[in-house]
């Protein structure tokens, strides 16, 4: 071998080593990883930044737009947002769409030999096998808030409120004590009342009267006297019967009386109460016709009670009275008008026998229970044996009232007062309820009532008695002391409705109500009751984000019904729901990861 050959061989070996070294260093794992890394980065940046508008030339995008999978609203959304929302749906079909979109777009960007995989929070959206093996895998990821498997990326929230409420509510239509006394002839009383109702659920008439012969008792022309279930009665020789009973008059209610006579009606209503600072109310007298019967003279009397809430500004209390057929008996002052316990006016009727007079009691009116007592041809006289009813009417004696046909000519009381603003409740509806005392007749009746922490609007005690003299009402939140609410200033002055201001109660605890007859011979009946009104929240706010509008609305209505609870069923809320679309949530953040190998 010559030196030339050695040199030549050396040169060839060097060349071979050089080429070999280059080949070895070209396949450096770090450099290979770097290359794969940047491929992954490119893929991810494409997913993050390309929007549907830019990708709309891809057949798969065009197809899914035509199929409604991708909506026109999403055309400015990135590929990530579209694919992410399909993935987050956790619906297999939608996730297949995500796979198809991802694959068809990203396959165009990498050479065939490379494999790659796109994952959201570790769950695979798309994978493509390459031909170059999996010796090296590069990973590239980014975070994206608002995406989480099974959570709607954006959707609807809804709230609901009740403006028209179909509610079960109880109203008590009271009959204040009135009549012709036990010396009069026949007595006819007509009472008009109006209920704003769509359906009567139940109506119970509590009858508390003192009579000799009960000829007729009608509700809307239906005779009910034979249907009365008499619960308590007492007969006094020569003075007739005092009796208390109930009768179901549900079918009859279409849309000389002792304490406790009332009609309790539970009904459905869609009435909308407009909360207002000024309350105006007209209370009509019942139409009372007392007839002379042989030697028995006639005479009519009636007490009308009303209440004014505490902290109100009393603006007007006026009475219009029309009495007819009033006899002018010398030295008698046959018309007598009381305001509460004060004899306010007395006079003799004009020759016509008609007393058509008006009074302004604004200055006399007080917060709480007020009442006006009118006596025509009647007063309580006294003799050596005691007090007695003294009637002097010849023929009929009438307290005239016909609210339907002659509202302004009728006898009535107009009340107007300004309410304390705090008593108006925004976002609430009021529900009327009634609690019966129960138990047995007793001189002092105490019964509990629990308002279940619902805010109280107003309450009335309705005292039921066969005979009455002087009644006292007290209330006591459990664990506290008694507060006296009312005591009759004199005998027989017992309003059927005694107003109890909510401030006397503590709604967070059960409260006791005590009704006591001060005459030991008379009892308080178990049918004595507390009528009250409470506020119920009538709206619910935004709930969970829902994928569909209907889902959000259904959720809102369900929550509203739950809020109204046992007290009311909202029926007209279709137009009282409001939904917001496209509400995002801060789900996640999800990690979008791209893996590349090859």
């Amino acid at each position: 071998m010559t030196l030339d050959a050695i040199i030549a061989i050396t040169l060839l070996l060097s060349l071979a080593l050089f080429i070999g070294a280059i080949s070895i260093t070209y396949y450096s794992p770090d450099l290979k990883y770097e290359r794969l890394y940047y491929m992954g980065k490119d893929l991810l940046l494409l997913v993050e930044n390309a929007d549907m508008d830019q990708l709309s030339d891809f057949p798969v995008i065009d197809y899914y737009i035509s199929q409604g999978v991708i909506t026109t609203d999403q055309m400015e959304n990135s590929l990530l947002e579209v694919v992410g929302s399909l993935w987050a749906s956790n619906n297999a079909t939608l996730q297949d769409y995500a796979t198809n979109i991802t694959g068809e777009i990203l396959n165009e960007t990498l050479p065939e030999k490379y494999g790659y995989e796109v994952l959201m929070d570790g769950s695979r959206i798309f994978r493509k096998e390459g031909t170059g093996g999996e010796d090296f895998i590069s990973r590239f990821s980014t975070i994206v808030s608002g995406f989480e498997l099974g959570k709607p990326v954006s959707g609807f929230v809804a709230r609901a409120w009740a403006t028209k409420i179909s509610k079960n509510t109880t109203d008590v239509i009271t009959f204040d004590i009135e009549g012709a006394g036990n010396d009069g002839g026949d007595l006819k009383i007509t009472k008009h009342f109006t209920l704003n109702t769509t359906a009567i659920e139940s109506a119970t008439f509590y009858v508390s009267i003192h009579y000799t012969n009960l000829d007729s008792l009608q509700v809307n022309g239906n005779e009910i006297s034979g249907d009365i279930s008499w619960l308590h009665s007492d007969y006094f020789w020569g003075m007739g019967t005092a009796a208390f009973g109930t009768v179901d008059v549900t079918d009859y209610v279409q849309n000389g009386i002792h304490p406790g006579m009332r009609l309790e009606v539970t009904y459905k209503t869609e009435e909308i109460k407009e909360a207002t600072e000024t309350v105006k109310e007209r209370i009509y007298f019942d139409n009372i016709v007392s007839e002379e019967n042989g030697w028995r003279n006639s005479g009519a009397w009636a007490m009308v009670s009303f209440h004014i809430p505490e902290n109100s500004t009393i603006r007007n209390v006026t009475m219009h009275l029309r009495g007819e057929d009033i006899e002018d008996i010398a030295w008698r002052d046959d018309v007598r008008i009381y305001y509460k316990d004060q004899l306010y006016d007395t006079f003799n009727p004009p020759p016509s026998g008609i007393a058509d007079v008006s009074y302004n009691f604004t200055d006399e009116a007080t917060e709480g229970t007020n009442w006006i007592l009118v006596q025509l041809n009647y007063r309580i006289s006294s003799s050596w044996w005691g007090e007695y009813d003294d009637f002097t009417g010849d023929g009929d004696t009438v307290i005239y009232s016909d609210p339907i046909n002659d509202p302004d000519g009728s006898s009535y009381i107009d009340i107007e007062y300004g309410m304390d603003e705090e008593r108006l409740r925004y976002g609430y509806i009021d529900i009327g309820l009634s609690e019966i005392a129960g138990g047995s007749p007793e001189i002092t009746k105490t019964f509990p009532v629990d308002f279940e922490d619902k805010e109280l609007i107003k309450s009335f005690v309705h005292v039921a008695q066969l005979f009455s003299y002087i009644v006292r009402v007290r209330v006591r939140p459990q664990g506290q002391s008694w507060t006296q609410i009312f005591e009759s200033p004199s005998g027989r002055v017992i309003p059927s409705s005694i107003y109890v201001d909510p401030n006397y109660f503590d709604i967070s605890v059960p409260n006791d109500i005590e009704v006591r007859e001060m005459n030991a011979g008379y009892n308080i009946l178990p049918e004595t009751s507390l009528e009250y009104r409470i506020w119920i929240p009538s709206s619910v706010g935004y709930g969970d984000v829902n994928e569909t509008l209907q889902g959000a609305l259904d959720d809102a209505v369900a929550r509203l019904n739950e809020t109204l609870g046992k007290y009311a069923v909202a029926t007209t809320i279709a137009k009282e729901t409001y939904s917001v679309s496209g509400v995002p949530s801060m789900w996640g953040p999800a990690v979008l990861e791209v893996r590349v190998w090859g």
Binding site: L3, D4, I7, A8, T10, L11, S14, L15, L17, F18, A21, I22, T25, S28, D30, L31, Y33, E34, Y37, K41, E48, F140, S141, T142, I143, V144, S145, G146, V157, R159, W161, T163, K164, I272, K273, E274, A275, L424, Y426, G427, S538, S539, V540, G541, Y542, G543, E576, Y578, V580, S581, G582, V583, P584, S585, M586, G588, P589, V591
Partner: protein, 424 residues
């Protein structure tokens, strides 16, 4: 033929051996040349291999560092980008939560901006938990990000969070974001403090002043008025009657009874609610404008421009009008005037009816809706909502072409171009 490969090879060697004596005469010279050539080839080769191998080692280290640095940068970029997304989500929800609370409780916000900040950061309102913001505050986002394993240590903070009106229908949420990304070894670190902004649309947010002034009965979401004008007189001519209906340019329209035909010549035309024509020939309908120059082209241009198809023939002005403002009370549209009248969203959340903000907006009440839920209507009060709800008496007059209960005063009518239609 028949020569084997082995013998052929021998034959070639033999031939070469036979040629050598001819070259031997210049052998010394040739050897030097070959050696020189070999050296010249070998030196750069050796140098190249040496440098290449050495450079390759450096390149390997550089690639790793480069990838790691890029990963850090991408993590930082990813957080930055996601923060804007979080601002957008949190901001949108904060307005929903605020309006939700005001409307549900009937309680005005004492300081809307401060309360919105409280919602954005703590998710509470007056320190009370709000469901809408649950897990959707900026602080929630920060906690989540710092709790994630992103391969690096992440530090986050923010300052100078502000919320201000951008225009009537958008608010701008701005913040100074501080990001710190450090690798495990502490060799590399990114520290950044940069301003971030997110524009938050208040469209769809319920206007609190409606609920606050209607005991919660009336909901009025904010929607931007979509038409290019409120009222425009298209053409004038000779007229009779008042009527309102959708436009048609087809004299043979199969359903003419509720439409206003705009045509060149109205002679003999009947069956339409109204007719507008360029010639003076009166149509056989009771409501028309004739002798209206270029009525067809002008009407077509206006209706195509606005996309509002309804027209109003007003006998008082002897003109054909386009009144998309009619839709304001029914669709609940809001208009932002350059003068900025009406309260902005912050003032509305505070129940303010004064309208001092430059990003104010206006809308009209819908008296029919009020009555349908049992609310009384202030008969002569102007129908611009924030003035209608005012305790002050601000009387207006009816406007032809608008709902019969609608009232507006001269100041406001001029803004809506309704002055000529006022019933004075």
């Amino acid at each position: 033929m028949g020569l084997s490969i082995k013998s052929a090879s021998r034959h070639r060697h033999k031939c070469r051996a036979q040629q050598r004596p001819r070259l031997a005469s210049s052998r010394g010279m040739d050897g030097q040349v070959y050696s020189l050539i070999a050296i010249l080839i070998a030196i750069p080769l050796i140098l190249f291999v040496t440098f290449y191998l050495s450079g390759d080692q450096h390149m390997d280290y550089a690639a790793i560092d480069k990838v790691v640095a890029d990963q850090m940068h991408e993590v930082e970029r990813s957080i930055e980008k996601d923060f804007v997304q979080a601002m957008s989500i949190s901001g949108k929800r904060a307005f929903l939560a605020a309006s939700n609370d005001v409307i549900r409780e009937g309680r005005k916000l004492d300081d809307a901006n401060a309360r919105l900040m409280e919602l954005l950061t703590n998710g509470s309102l007056y320190e009370n938990y709000t469901y809408v913001m649950d897990n959707n505050t900026i602080n929630d986002w920060m906690d989540k990000i710092t709790g994630m394993d992103l391969g690096f240590d992440i530090g986050l903070g923010y300052s100078d969070l502000t919320l201000e009106g951008h225009d009537a229908f958008n608010v701008l949420l701005s913040v100074e974001l501080d990001i710190n990304v450090t690798d495990d070894l502490g060799k590399s670190r990114i520290d950044k403090s940069l301003p971030k902004e997110s524009l938050i649309s208040i469209e769809q947010v319920e206007d609190p002043i409606f609920a606050l002034n209607t005991f919660g009965y009336i909901s009025r979401p904010i929607k931007e008025y979509p038409y290019p004008y409120h009222a425009i007189e298209i053409v004038q001519g000779t007229s009779d009657g008042n009527c309102k209906g959708n436009v048609t340019f087809d004299p043979l329209d199969p359903d003419p009874s509720g439409k206003i035909l705009v045509t060149e010549d109205a002679a003999g035309i009947s069956g339409f609610l109204g007719v507008v024509s360029e010639t003076s020939s009166p149509p056989s309908v009771s409501c028309y404008v004739v002798d209206a120059f270029d009525a067809v082209n002008k009407t077509r241009d206006i209706t195509e421009w606005s996309g509002y198809p309804s027209l109003f023939i007003d006998n008082e002005t002897s003109a054909l009008w386009s009144l998309p403002v009619y839709e304001v009370p029914y669709e609940g549209y809001y208009t932002a005037f350059p003068s900025g009248t009406g309260p902005d969203i912050f003032e509305r959340l505070e129940g303010s009816l004064t309208g001092s903000g430059e990003n104010g907006m206006e809308t009209f009440i819908n008296a029919e809706r009020f009555q349908s839920v049992g609310l009384s209507v202030k008969t002569n009060q102007v129908s611009v909502a924030y003035l209608y709800f005012s305790t002050q008496s601000i009387n207006g007059v009816p406007v032809r072409g608008m709902p019969p209960w609608f009232r507006i005063d001269f100041t406001r009518a001029a803004k809506y171009n309704l002055t000529d239609l006022m019933e004075t």
